[in-house]
Each structure stands twice: as C-alpha cells, then as structure tokens.
Symmetry: C2
Amino acid sequence: MTQTSTTSSPASTQTIDWLQIPPATPSESARRKAEARQQILTKPPGALGRLETLAVRLAALQDKAQPAIDRVHVAVFAADHGVAVEGVSAFPQAVTCEMVRNFARGGAAICVITRQLGATLEVVNLGTVSDLEPLEGVKTYRLGAGTANFTREPAMTEHQLACALHAGRHAAERAQLMGAQLFIGGEMGIGNTTSATALECALLAMSPRDVAGPGPGLDAVGITRKVDVIRRGLELHCNHMTSPIEVLRRVGGFEIAALVGAYIACAQMGLPALVDGFIASAAALTAAKLCDGIENWLLFSHASAEPGHRRILSALGAHPLLDLGMRLGEGSGAATAVPLLRLACALHNEMATFAEAGVSEKIS
Amino acid sequence: MTQTSTTSSPASTQTIDWLQIPPATPSESARRKAEARQQILTKPPGALGRLETLAVRLAALQDKAQPAIDRVHVAVFAADHGVAVEGVSAFPQAVTCEMVRNFARGGAAICVITRQLGATLEVVNLGTVSDLEPLEGVKTYRLGAGTANFTREPAMTEHQLACALHAGRHAAERAQLMGAQLFIGGEMGIGNTTSATALECALLAMSPRDVAGPGPGLDAVGITRKVDVIRRGLELHCNHMTSPIEVLRRVGGFEIAALVGAYIACAQMGLPALVDGFIASAAALTAAKLCDGIENWLLFSHASAEPGHRRILSALGAHPLLDLGMRLGEGSGAATAVPLLRLACALHNEMATFAEAGVSEKIS
C-alpha cells in the first residue's frame, strides 16, 4: 500500500473531451530490433513461444530493444451497484465495504500477490453504499452511495460518469509518475458481473441468456433471475444506448468506468496495461469502442471462468496468457500473469546469442 | 550453478531393483486441512481456480497445511543420440556439446529462468558425442559417446540404462539433500524428440505418422524422414519391447532414462517433481508405466507445441498449467510455471479468513 487515504471532491467541470486524445504509437524500430534479437538467441527460433512475442511486443510498447517489467502498479477500483437489490449476487452488498477494509489491511488476494511481486497497490473507492472510515492505501472519490439500479434508471448521471472516468485516468497518471512499466486495474463491487454482462450484451448485441454466468457463486435459479434483470435493464435503455459512452453510463458501474478511463489514459500516455478477467475485459471492450488503437496497449492476462469472458476476448481478438479457471477479480488474474512478462523480458535480455556462446545455428 | 565438475565411473554392479520401491503416500490429513482453509479465505470458494487446487495438492505432497515452494532444484540431463545420424534434427549434433558449455556459462534459457527464480541448477552430462573439458556446474557420468542408433541396435545396453536411471536418482537425491521443495528435470540432446516419439508410439500403441512433429525446426520433408526412421526403429525392436523398461532401453536416450530415474526417485522420497514438455513427459509416461502411484508426485507444467505432447498428457490424465507454445526443453517450461506454484502457496498461506477480516460469507 503506497497511498494514504484522501477524499477528493469531483470538480463540477469534469468533461470527457480528453477521451478523444489519440493513443500513443508503439515503436516499430524497437519491435524490429527485438525481433532480430530473438532470432539470434541460443534456442531454435520460436521455441519460447509466446514468451518471445511478449518480449517483442513489450519492446515496441516501451520503445526499448530490451524491455523490463520491474515496476508494476495495481489500482483496484471499488464501488457498489444499485442493481444489487435485484438479488443478482451470491454475496451481500456489504461485502464491497468489507473487502475495501480487507484490501487496506493486506488480507485480500490482490494484496498477497502484489507483495509477492513487489508491486505497488492502491485502492480507489468510488462509492460504496456506506461511507467508510479513512483507510490507509485507500483513495476516496465519493460519486454516490453506489450506482442507481439500472432496471429503473441510468446507473450514472453524466457527471458521475465523467468523474469515474477521470478517477481512472488519475490512477493511470499516478502509475506513470511512479515510474511503473505496467498498469493493472482491478475491481471490487458486489453485482458488477451483472453490469459487465449488460455492457457486453449491449456492445456486442448478445442475449443475456447466452452470456450471463454465476459470477462469484449464483446457482441456476440465481442465474435465471440475473438474466431477467439484465433483460429488463436493456429493454428500459435500448432506445437511448446509441453510443458506447451512453451504454457505459446506463448499465455500467463507477469502477467499470474508472477502468475504462484508466485504459484509455494508459494508451494515451504509452503505458502498457495488463487486463484482468471478465469485468476488466468488459471495460477494455468499452474502451476499445471509444478509442481506436487502444488495443496496442492492452495485454490480456487470463481467461476467466465466467462464461461471458470468452466472447469479449474473441471480439477483441485477445488471446490471454493464462487459463486457470480464476474468477475473483481484484486484478488477481492479471497480477498472476506478471511473472510471465518478467521471464519473457529476462530471457530476451539475458540469454546468450549463438555468436556469444559459440553454438551452431539451424541447418539451413 | 551449484555443483562443480566431477566425473563418476558407473559402478559395474548397478541394478534397477530400486525401481520397485513403492512411492511415498501424500498426506490426506494435510490435504483436508488445506481444503478446509481454502473455504474460509476471503474470496468466493473456488474463485482462484487452479491456484486453489494446486495449493491443496502441494499441502498433501509436503504434508503441511501451509505448503511452500521456496527452494527449487533444476537438473538438466544432456546426452547425444545415435539416431541423429539419420538426419532427424534441424540442428547439427555438435549443438548438444555446445549447449552444455552454454549452460555452464549461464547463457541458456534455463540459466536465465533459474536465476530469476533463485533456483539451483545443475547439469548432468551422460554422454555427448565428444568429451567435454571440465565445466563448472556440470557433472559427468560418461555412459558412451551418445546412444547407439536405434534403427540398427538397441539404443542402450542394460548396463548403460541402469547407470542412466541411477544418475537421475542421484540428481533427485541431491535435490532432496539440498532441501529442495520441488524438483525439475530438463534435457538437452539433439535427436531426442525422435527418441521420445518412438517411446510414445511403443508405450501408447500409436503410429509415428500420427505423433511425430518438427522438434526444434524440421520442415515437412524432415518430418516424413523422421516418421520413417521411427517406423524402422519400432519394426526392428517390436518383438523385444515386451516391457516399458525394455522399450526405454531400445529406443530411449540416456537423458530420458535419467529423467525416468529422477521422477521415480522423487516419488519414492516424497519430493514433488514439476514435469517439463514433450521429452520430459515421455519420461514421465515411462515412469508411470514402471511405478504405480507415481502420478501423485508429478505436476505438469505446460503443453508443448510438439504435437505428440497432448497425447501423452491425455494418457496421463494431466492438465498442464501453461499453454504458451513453448518447445525448447531444458526444463524451461516447467521453470516458467514455478511462479504460479509460489503464488498458489502465498495466497493459501497469507490471505485473511472471513473471520479475521470481518467479511461476510456467501448467502446460503
């Protein structure tokens, strides 16, 4: 935990014009140098598989022929969801607040993993149902006591949406200022698989029945109820969801919007972001609809057990590194993949070349 | 590198009777305790996917409710293959010797990964075509100038096979003496995908045409030649391959036999072994045919790009952790998976429980 608790009032003049800033451009020259280096390392070309393509991609993103992922910053965005009152989660809504405290005390999964990685971790509370006492490592942007219930009204006002996007942008900027070479966004919010599924359905023209899943533990009856809740929400808003940003405002969540803002800001600043599971990927999908070229800056970490995830990954042309049946959120899947990025860089930078080692190359 | 160079003459009285020693039994009590702990950590049950089942399995193997994978020992077994003269590799046979030197100087992929992991690494040269000068970190058991060409005669004599199995056993015993909590066996030997494919065909009654692959870089013509070489070898030996040990002697390799010996010794001593890719899995398959119950002690790290690998994994009921298109050998895929085992242990040991964190459990 690197941040002490602060409370920021959202400025009343927040706009979303900054979303239009184009993303940075990866370095073709660094990519070519890195590709050339991979061909002369003491291994059959291609034999390290995705560890090779990862190193080359990171070289292009960092504009360095020899990339590094030493400094990693994780921001976990927390918020409550009005739609939770519809009974769409296997856990009580109080868990969002309880987990923010657990993050602050270092007991949550993402805390354990970031300690193992030597990564920095901050938590951004965008609006839990209850106010929380000041907590070490938790920044507070209180946009409301959770979003509104999207089966009755838009989840967010335009102002709340703009502030949530800004909160994500600020987290990405803090990561950049701290010298992070990789940004990971996590989320915590009871009910947020319902919001993410609604986003997916609206953005990919899917039916809730085809993509809604158990989230952290619904049974079949619960999933049927969740499908109905999402269907009602999509029906209520369907005539108004004419743009990705309006879809996000009407059925998204504060923490999901913050992830969208963070991913777009990362791409604009040229900071690679490692995307977590289902919720984070729904945010990445939204960001991709808002910002052409953002995909260059998004690395996908793992395939979640949540059924809607694979369709989003497919829509984004993403092939995540891990498939371990994880479905926790918090950024935990992305953080679990960080050692692979580090090994990819170490192999790329430290292996001997054929010439250095006096090893014969392939018979032509 | 932790070992200095030594040359051991194989004792003339080596037997393989020790293969009959039964494997150790994992602790059901530690498994149950670990399973119970996973249910009370602050996450939805099962939400960490395979990181949960891994931690529980390691608890059973280490007989500790809170397992750890801090100390990892990697032994890379190197040897040449007589069958290489048949033109079955995209690389010249000299590469085996050259790579042993590269291991000793720290320039190979496995050297980079073990440094990153803080793991210990030793190289065991069982018989390269040329004698090598003494090299730091390389132990030498010279069983011959490579195996014999299995298209003409058995790859190994009974004595060579016994010595190779012993060499693997000794590496596992050194790992145990050093306090390793995990053993990884790697291999290096030009031509060894041909031997491993022949083993697979003989042990699983497969056709070479269905499983032979490019190894480190054969083209289609080369693969056709490799299929023919394996077919000729299997035809020559088919009436004599009446037991797994005889299959190993006739078409295996020194380094493959060492891996077999190491895996069996690990299981007997109760030391978990993390199996690398295609060659290592062919050794694991052979070990499983020789030693009932060994599967308990073998963890599978990654799915290799070599096509024959998936059939072996399927025969062993194994579901590897990673699928990154790696096909290098040296133990590199297994070593790449070590951070996942470490994260699984850290999460299991360090996450707060619901009671400790005051977090509500699932609505029943």
